[in-house]
Structures are given as C-alpha cells and as structure tokens.
C-alpha cells in the first residue's frame, strides 16, 4: 500500500464502481476499497446468510427457503430502463459480456383499489380497463399527439409549446381525468410526486417517450434486470476497472480521511497504513453519514429517508397474471400521500431466489414517524407475506462539491424505481472530478475477447 494513486474510491456501490471503471479506462490509477467482504455496498445483492447477518444477526438462517447460494436479494429495488442511460453505459463499456439480462414481465399501476397493466401505446390505451370509454378516446388522442410530435414540424404541435407550457396545460388540452394523469405521470414518466405538473412539459414528454420506446424494445415491459441480481452490476464495473489496472481491496477498514492543514485530501488511513492519492471518491457512509467528522466538519447531511420492506412470498403477486416479475406503482394521489409507493418483484426466473419463491420490495419516501405503516397499501397487494425485512434508510447529500478539497462524495440511492438518477450522479461526479469535463463514453478497445 505504499504506492501513490490518482484516485482512491471508497465503497463498491454501483455509482462508485461505474466511476472506478470509467476512470481506469481513462488511464487513472485507481485504488478501490470497501469495508465489507462483498461487493456492492448499499446496492449489493445478498444471500440469506448475508441478509440475516445484516437484519437479524441474532437469528439462525431458516432452512425452509432452499439453498443459501440460490439467493441474491437486492437491498435497493431498481430496474433498468431498456433504452435508458445505464443501458448505454453498459453497452459502451462492454461490461455486457459479464452479464445476462431478462425482461421484467409486467409494469402495473394501482388505480381505485385495483392493479392494471400500464398502457403504453394508443392501442393499449383503447383496451385498458384503467379508463372508461370516453376517457380512452381522449387518452388515445394524447398518445397520438406524443408519438407524432416533431420539434421541426409545428403542424404536429397542436398549439402546444413543450418548453413553455406546463404539463397541466397539456393534460387540460386533452381533457384527461386526474386518475389518468396519475398513471401517465407516475407509472410512465415515473415521477415520485406531483411537482412536475406545473413545470414545462418537455421533461415529462421525454420521460414518456423513454418509457414507450423502452417498452417497444423487448415487448413485455420497459424494464430489464440482470440475472443473479442487481449486485452483478457493481461487480461487472469493478472487473472493468481491474482489467484496466484498478486495484481492489475488500474487507478493508477505512479509519480516517487524512487531510492537510488547508483541509485538502491527502490520503486514506487504514490501521496504521496511510495510502496517498490526489483525489478520493466515496459513498456517504465513509464520510460520517450525517455526523460531524474530522474536526467538526459536516461532510454529508440527511435529505429525507426511504422505507423499504423486503418481502419473501411463496406465490406471485395477485392480479399480475402470475408474472414472474413486475413493477407496481401506487401513485400518491390514489392512497392520499405526497410520494408514490413502489413495488419491485423478481423471482427464480432471474436467479435471485429458490424456485417458487418471489421477492417483492415495497418502498416509499418516509412522510411520517411511523414509516412501516406508510407501506401498508403496498403490502396489502402482495397476499400472504412469508417473511419481511423492513429498513429505514437516510438519504445523504454531500455538503460540498469536492472541487476545493478533492473529496468527492456521492449521494445515497434515492427512492426512484430505476437507475436514471444513478447515471446522472455518475455524470455529475465525473464532471467534478475531472475539473468540468463532460462524460463522453468511449468504446473499450481491444482487450478482452481478442486474440
């Protein structure tokens, strides 16, 4: 450990591993450390032994759930949008060669006590039980308007200016009911609250198009998922980094972020060794996690909480046509909340659990002092729950950009149901670390697979 590095990365969560991989490919000398003896940090997938160690260390691992090694239970529930930004990074960096993906079988939305498939085309809108006859016609017109929109052709704009008019104006123009707005804004545009309605419609338009084009790509849902769990994603980027010279140390205690008299980063101390580097990148848990560190400095602050319930089921979720996997969005308005409740379910089809077991994670942003109660509308949709692991996780945001002290801290994984914000975070940290350079994805050259 007496070498000097360009960058030390702390924590092997997805954000950190993507950055580590991209920086190594860019020629930087990277040392990547994690205090755990497994990859993934907060975005790991755990087997039963690891899950029990984390949530119920005082209890033995049950024997009625099948083999321990068949399990890879995600800690953060997210799906990959087929045409989204993470897919682009996966393809450009060629880490797809380490991974296999399957579709998520269905995308559902909760309306008036029932769940239904999210329609994504005008044809599906016409057949959807979500809307009455007249509403279907209006929704059909709305979808046609979106599909036909061309920036260069004002004839397709029908008097709407996406950059100026709010989404409210667009909804009103097509006369869509509040319930329809709920599933469009929350199950297609994937907003967690209703703030988007008063903002210019362009962002919502882009997100709906992302949803529909992702849906069209493989057919069943707009989402894909890596076999063996989301924890494969950080592992694959860690391998990318290692292949480009990155050094990996798991199970390594990080005791101190060493700074100089000006507060600038010097190195990382582990036991009585200190490794030096020009910069450090890491997740909030290495920087105090909301507590004062290093002479009273507050490096990260709490910015809300997420409550998540990992539920073990012995049956598919009722009302999903026995889907082997599904996303269900419960729009906030439908259950009198400010934030959506979101369910992500995967099963043995994705090699994350034993046969005939289903893992559903119900999550939402905490609004009260009884977070588990807030999940009730989601839990109620699951039928009998065999077992449940509930956690409340603070979301941390760094207090400084890192440009002045070379300490670059990533944000916690948010409550969104997909990875788009993770990629935004990667792009943002990249820009900060490189002194303002935008992230341009380069194709990986030669290397593996060549002879």
């Amino acid at each position: 450990m007496d070498e000097e590095y360009d960058v030390i990365v702390l924590g092997t969560g997805l954000t950190e591993c993507i950055l580590s991989g991209l920086l190594s490919v860019d020629g930087k000398k990277v040392l990547h450390m994690d205090r755990n003896d497994y990859y993934g940090g907060d975005s790991a997938s755990l087997n039963l032994t690891q899950l029990y160690r984390k949530f119920r260390s005082d209890q033995p691992v049950p024997t009625d759930l099948g083999r321990d090694r068949d399990y890879a239970i995600d800690l953060i529930p997210k799906f990959i949008i087929a045409s989204g930004e993470l897919t682009k990074i996966l393809v450009h960096t060629d880490v797809t060669r380490y991974l296999e993906f399957k579709q998520i079988a269905g995308s559902f939305v909760f309306r008036e006590g029932k769940i239904s498939k999210v329609p994504s085309t005008e044809m599906e809108a016409v057949r959807s039980p979500l809307m009455g006859l007249f509403e279907k016609r209006r929704a059909k017109n709305f979808f046609q308007f979106l599909q036909n929109w061309k920036d260069s052709d004002p004839a397709t704009h029908q008097g709407i200016d996406l950059d100026k008019d709010s989404m409210k104006t667009v909804y009103e123009k097509f006369g869509l009911e509040p319930g329809t707005q709920d599933f469009i804004g929350h199950a297609m545009a994937l907003y967690l609250d209703d703030d988007y309605i008063t903002k210019p419609a362009r962002a919502t338009y882009d997100r709906i198009i992302l949803y529909t084009s992702s849906m069209a790509r493989y057919g069943k849902s707009p989402y894909i998922y890596p076999l063996y769990g989301l924890g494969e994603l950080p592992q694959s980027f860690a391998r990318l980094s290692a292949i480009y010279g990155g050094t990996y140390m798991l199970d390594k205690q990080v005791d101190e972020i060493v700074t100089d008299a000006d507060g600038k980063f010097v190195g990382v101390r582990s036991g009585n060794e200190t490794v030096k580097a020009k910069q450090v990148i890491g997740d909030p848990s290495y920087f105090g996690a909301g507590k004062r560190v290093d002479g009273g400095k507050m490096r990260v602050v709490e910015d809300g909480k997420v409550v998540r319930a990992i539920c073990v089921l012995k049956h598919p979720i009722p009302g999903t046509d026995d889907a082997d996997s599904a996303q269900i969005i419960i729009p906030q308005n439908q259950v009198g909340r400010r934030n959506d409740i979101y369910i992500a379910m995967v099963s043995s089809t994705h090699n994350v659990c034993a046969k005939d077991v289903y893992i559903a994670i119900v999550s939402t942003i905490v609004e009260t002092d009884r977070p588990e109660m807030e999940l009730a509308p989601g839990l109620a949709l699951l039928g009998q729950i065999h077992d449940k692991f509930v956690s409340v996780t603070p979301l941390y945001t760094p207090t400084a950009s890192g440009e002045s002290d070379n300490i670059f801290i990533t944000r916690s994984y948010d409550a969104t149901s997909h990875f788009e914000t993770v990629v935004e975070e990667v792009q943002d940290v990249w820009r900060r670390v490189t002194g303002g350079k935008p992230l341009v994805l380069k194709k990986r050259e030669g290397g593996e697979g060549e002879q």
């Binding site: 497994y38 990859y39 090694r69 087929a82 897919t87 996966l90 393809v91 797809t96 060669r97 380490y98 991974l99 296999e100 993906f101 399957k102 579709q103 790509r217 493989y218 894909i224 076999l227 063996y228 494969e232 592992q235 694959s236 860690a238 391998r239 290692a242 292949i243 480009y244 010279g245 050094t247 990996y248 140390m249 798991l250 199970d251 390594k252 089809t349 090699n351 030669g446 290397g447 593996e448 697979g449 060549e450 002879q451």
Partner: protein, 255 residues
C-alpha cells in the same frame, strides 16, 4: 459479443476461470495455450483478461472462454460473478513456492462451495522448468530425460532437500500435489508456461472431462446453468441482448 460463435461452427462454449496466488503464472499459462507465447517478465495482468481458444477433441470442438483474475485475487477481492457459471477452473500454484499450494487448496475449497457443482477443476503446478533446469544442472544423478518426462521420480528426497536450501528449486513434491488432487477429485498436471510443457495436455484433459451433455441440456432448457456466462443472449430462453439493436455485430467471432 460472439453471438454467432456457438451455433455457426457447432463448437461448445465453455467458461474457464483461472485461480491462484499472485505471480504463479496464471496469465502465462493461458498465453502459452492461446498464442503459444511466453513473456519472461510479464507485468501483472492488465488490459486483456478474456481470451478465447478452441480445443479440438475427436468428436467435438470446445471453445474456451478463459477468464483471468485481472489482479482482483491479490487482496482477496474476486467477485462471485467471476466463477459464476464456470464449467472449468484451472487452479495454479508455483512448484517452487510451498505456500502457493496452500492458497490453491483454499481456492479449490471456495470453488467447491460456491461454483457450479459440475465444474471440472484442474490443479496446475507451474514453473516446473525451474525445477527441471535446477535438477539437471545441479545434480549429476538426475538424467536429462527428466526434463521431458517429469514423473514421480523427479521429486526425490535429495531435491526436496535442495528446495529447502536454495531459491528456485522444487518446494512442492509432485507426489504430494498428486495425492491431494486425487483426494479432492481434481485433474493434475505440472506445467511450464515457459517451455510449454504440460499446457496443451492440461486443457485437453479438461475438455475431455467437461460434461458436454449436461451443458447442452441446460442450454436447451434456457435455464440458469447456461454455459459461458455472458456471451450471448440468443440461445437462452427469454434473455435479452443489449447489444443487438445498437450496432452491427463487432468481431462476431474471435477465433
């Protein structure tokens, strides 16, 4: 991604992983097998870590997809993804370093615990050229032929005594490693990436022992144990190929 490879030439794709302590010559063993080359002072593995090579048997062609550790083994940080779905593993130790066999044994244990239960594991005692040379030059009683045919006789008590006293000499008796391999159900070879000794034999014997029928069956089923890990999305049921509509297939066949 080599989508076409498996079906086009009817070769059967086999994921093979390398394991072993740092600097025992894992990459060199593969380089010898794949390109028939040897680099004397090879840098620790950087850049290329995913090589392919065909192996022809009488009735079948295997296409090895060989994964190198990319140095992640150095601080015990290999990801489970590494040996996931591997059908074969070569666990390498250095015949001049006794501790490297202990490390090899712990890797074998790890594989037997974590990897595919049908995995074929081979133990390779590498750098046997150092022992052969040393034996030939320093001992008048050892015949020249021992370089070509290292057999049990090479691990004489005299040599073991030498190993204890000098650098670069045998520190792991062939008998000892063979006995361990037999007990643990492993293939065993002493190899030299430098001279090529034992290398082709190593990979050929692995190929003979691979349960092809099992691989084909699980491929047809599109199930969990599909060989080759990530190689293609076309043959397993319901898998999606992210690269498919992104671009025209690049270097579709690497062989």
């Amino acid at each position: 991604m080599a989508d076409a490879a498996a079906s086009a030439d009817k070769s059967i794709q086999v994921k093979l992983v390398l394991l072993g302590e740092a600097a025992v010559g894992k990459s060199s063993v593969v380089l010898r097998f794949v390109s028939n080359e040897f680099q004397a002072n090879k840098e620790p593995t950087i850049g290329a870590a995913f090589l392919t090579q065909k192996c022809r048997l009488e009735d079948r062609v295997l296409r090895y997809e060989i994964w190198d550790t990319a140095g992640q083994e150095r601080f015990h940080s290999l990801a489970p993804m590494y040996y996931r779905n591997a059908q074969a593993a070569v666990v390498v130790y250095d015949v001049t370093k006794a501790a490297s066999l202990d490390k090899a044994k712990s890797w074998v244990k790890e594989l037997q615990r974590q990897a595919n239960p049908h995995i074929v594991i081979a133990l390779a005692g590498n750098k046997v050229d150092l022992v052969n040379n040393a034996a030939a030059s320093s001992s008048s009683t050892t015949e020249e032929t021992s370089e070509d045919e290292p057999d049990d006789a090479t691990a004489t008590p005299a040599e073991l005594a030498q190993a204890a006293s000098g650098d670069g000499l045998r520190a792991v008796a062939r008998d000892e490693a063979q006995a361990y391999a037999t007990e643990a159900g492993l293939l065993f070879f002493e190899t030299s990436a430098k001279t090529g000794e034992g290398i082709v034999e190593l990979f050929t014997e692995i190929a003979k022992k691979i349960p092809i029928e099992h691989i084909l069956a699980s491929t047809r089923g599109g199930g969990a144990n599909r060989p080759g890990g990530a190689a293609s999305g076309s043959n397993a049921q319901g898998n999606v190929n992210l690269d498919a509509n992104n671009q025209t297939p690049k270097n579709a066949c690497n062989c």
